[in-house]
């Protein structure tokens, strides 16, 4: 039982230059935690100091924003694709 996490260009250097990482399935939050335990450098990019997903990090499951699903509790099926997409943002 595995799902594929698509890694955005800006995080690839932190996961050994891979564009996809395969991890064991579960809920979205668990799957992202597995990614982080395998590649600890990713943690700061995804989560804030309180351990919440950063506001500007969008996570999609098979193309659907997890905010429209069950958030990090969204259950994944074998073969699902999780995409991490940082929102483009800036200050003034």
């Amino acid at each position: 039982m595995a799902v594929t996490i698509r890694i955005p260009a800006l995080l690839r250097a932190l996961v050994g230059d891979k564009s996809e990482v395969s991890v064991e399935s579960g809920a979205v939050g668990e799957v992202l935690a597995r990614l982080v335990s395998e590649y600890p450098d990713v943690k700061d990019r995804l989560y804030d100091e309180d351990g919440n997903l950063r506001r500007f990090v969008n996570v999609y499951v098979n193309g659907e924003d997890i905010r429209a699903l069950d958030g990090e509790a969204t259950q994944l099926k074998d073969g699902d694709e999780v995409a991490i997409v940082p929102a483009i943002a800036g200050g003034i």
Partner: protein, 130 residues
């Protein structure tokens, strides 16, 4: 395309406008305006996730790559702010900033160094109509 970015920036003022330019080989040929969903849109910009995604999907369908990311500075001049530099993620793209000087738009273009986060101004830019 320059006109489209300028028009979007004027229309959004006093809020910041933002969007993407797609194309090939560093030459931008398509303009994708994206809504700014920042809670304080006069002070910052955050691209609407769905709009950003649609733009990337459209680029992929057209065989384009991301050439540039733009946003406007309605009142502070077209230099990148510290927050702009720190939150810049797509460093292969040009960072364009539209400034408004007494209501008249102008453009400056930058590359952001991936490690030092220093902005280097790009003096020459190919923007060609589709």
């Amino acid at each position: 395309m320059l006109d489209a970015m300028f028009a979007a920036s004027l229309q959004a003022a006093p809020a910041e406008a933002c969007g993407l330019l797609g194309g090939r080989d560093g030459v931008a040929t398509s303009h994708y305006p994206v809504p700014n969903v920042a809670p304080e849109p006069t002070e910052r910009f955050v691209m609407d996730p769905a709009g950003q995604r649609e733009a990337f999907t459209a680029m992929e369908r057209r065989g384009e790559e991301l050439v540039a990311i733009y946003h406007s500075h309605p009142s502070t001049g077209a230099s990148p702010s510290k927050a702009d530099l720190l939150s810049a993620h797509y460093l292969d793209a040009f960072y364009l900033i539209v400034g408004l000087r007494q209501g008249r738009p102008y453009l400056r273009a930058f590359r952001i160094h991936p490690r030092t986060r220093a902005a280097v101004e790009v003096r020459w830019l190919a923007v060609r109509p589709r």
